[in-house]
Amino acid sequence: MSDFSDLYQDLILDHQKNPRNFGELSGANHHADGFNPLCGDKIALDLKVNGEGVIEDVKFKGSGCAISKASASMMTVALKGKKAEEAEKMFHQFHDMVMGKEGAKTGELGKLKVFAGVRDYPARVKCASLAWHTMEAALHDQKDVVSTDDGVAP
């Protein structure tokens, strides 16, 4: 199975099979929904951000492909305890990494770097980035459902 280990890394498969922080968060004060109508990937994301702007807790619910589920699960793990502005920085670094942007910085990403392989699968960038765009929308209290498959730019 070595041909696919660049994309389907063990850590990704583990999170896909056993998603962390799965469910609804009571006491959440930010929420957003993501939906990619073309493939049917869905995510509902709850965040609890305290007075100091720190993400105290985060949970997600949803369904979709291995990449979208694992991305959402690993994101929730990475976000806990981070300040909102740190989360935004991670969002941008993650986005640049999966888009294969030249000279992309990954200093804040830690384990999330396992998603670097996605850049070689252009059709799957939207799967990996849906959770992150939904998180960004939740932080900004956007009411519109987020989508990354509208074909312009993921």
Binding site: A66, I67, A123
Partner: protein, 421 residues
């Protein structure tokens, strides 16, 4: 004295032996490798590849006689006009229409359906009237009717399907009432492969006074279409799914209906005379072909129709039915694989799910092994909802596919299970 009409004897039926390996050589694109593996193209319900003769026909048009039609008095325009109109005759023969004036060139199936909705529909459908569609329709045979119903205060009703993907004929009989103005139904389902018994359905609908539009996009590549035997009122299809170029399609309509309908778009080439006070329209088909049409692709479609006729739709159907049976058997042997759409009469489509594995992950892993399939809802979300699934993986067949390619698909699916199972 009676003079005997001299009729050209019909050419003897072609007895060409169907040789798939030989036919594959007609399709230059199939020779390539993707991701280092030989291409196995099984996304034919999305679009088919083009034989060299179609590509060369397009090239010849642009190199040798590109010009506008129906207006120039010069040689090139006469040549282009003759080539364009010759395709109308070929299309007439392809669907067995009674009259070439019953053939209208469109951008594709979607435009054909929208044309009927916006002309016949706006003229004939009013508040409280009903339009019937089925659960297995492609979005393009749902949304135009929804839009029309919204505008007119008419009601859209849906004929359900059984678990195997066959139409619920009893429900259809009940849903057809004197209020039903139109039944819009697919000939072959793009997501399930079901072949609907259109002739029976049309008879039933006509007995209740309803008109019938048939979406033939997925039928035309796989079976011989005979609009007179079906007795449907409208039949629409796309050129690019029958080995022709994109951007060109055929709308068949019964002449009297077409003649009674208002025009679709206004512009040049569809008028008999124009003053600022009053414009007189041409008769069908030109009434519905405003502006400079897609001349090159129409002529390209003609080459595709010739190619299919030469190969023989019966030969194509026989070959594809063999592949379908072989594929059904091979895929059924994979544990966890569930075929979606198991009607007794099917054409060209193997739609499936694989346990909890998302079709997009299946699509990605197959792609890296050279196997191109479609993963998603296939523009048929109500079908997916009917089965309670977000998507399926779909392998769809064409005349150039082989048993070896079905084996490559099967091997690829086993790899998916190895990686993600």
């Amino acid at each position: 004295m009676k003079t005997k009409l001299r009729v050209k004897p019909k050419p003897a039926p072609k007895t060409t032996v169907f040789n798939v390996e030989k036919l594959r050589k007609d399709f230059p694109l199939l020779r390539q490798k993707v991701h280092g593996k030989p291409l196995v193209y099984l996304d034919n319900a999305a679009t088919t590849q083009k034989p060299l003769v179609v590509i060369e026909t397009l090239e010849k048009f642009y190199k040798e006689y590109n010009s506008n039609i129906h207006r120039g008095l010069h040689l090139l325009s006469e040549k282009a006009t003759a080539a364009y109109e010759a395709v109308r005759i070929k299309a007439q023969a392809f669907v067995n229409a009674a009259d070439p004036r019953e053939i209208i060139f469109t951008r594709g199936t979607t435009e054909g359906i929208n044309l009927v909705a916006q002309t016949w529909g706006r003229q004939n459908v009013g508040a409280g009237d009903e339009i019937l569609v089925t659960t297995m329709e492609h979005h393009s045979n749902i949304v135009p009717w929804q839009m029309l119903c919204g505008e007119k205060g008419a009601i859209l009703k849906v004929v359900p399907i059984h678990d195997d993907g066959e139409l619920d004929m009893e429900a259809l009989a009940k849903l057809l009432t004197p209020k039903t103005k139109l039944l819009a139904i697919t000939h072959v389902s793009n997501a399930l492969g079901t072949i609907n018994p259109i002739a029976d359905i049309v008879r039933l609908a006509h007995s209740k006074g309803a008109r019938v539009l048939v979406d033939g996009a997925q039928a035309a590549p796989h079976l011989a279409v005979d609009v007179r035997a079906l007795d449907c009122d409208f039949y629409v299809l796309s050129g690019h799914k029958i080995y022709g170029p994109t951007g060109i399609g055929i709308l068949y309509g019964k002449y009297q209906l077409l003649d009674s309908m208002p025009p679709y778009q206004g512009g040049g080439d569809m008028i008999a005379s124009v003053t600022f006070e009053k414009t007189l329209y041409k008769k069908p088909p030109y009434k519905f072909e405003a502006g400079t049409p897609n001349i090159a692709d129409t002529i390209g479609l003609g080459a595709a129709l010739d190619y299919i006729t030469k190969t023989g739709l019966d030969n194509i159907a026989g070959h594809e039915q063999d592949l379908l049976a072989y594929g059904t058997k091979k895929l059924s042997e994979i544990s966890g694989l569930k075929l979606v759409g198991t009607a007794s009469h099917k054409a060209g489509v193997l739609s499936f799910t694989l346990g909890e594995i998302h079709p997009h992950d299946i699509g990605t892993i197959l792609d890296r092994q050279g196997v191109a399939i479609r993963a998603g809802h296939h523009c048929a979300q109500p079908v997916m909802d009917r089965y309670g699934i977000p998507a399926t993986a779909r392998a769809s067949l064409a005349l150039y596919n082989t048993r070896g390619e079905i084996d490559a698909l099967t091997k690829g699916i086993r790899k998916v299970l190895e990686v993600l199972g």
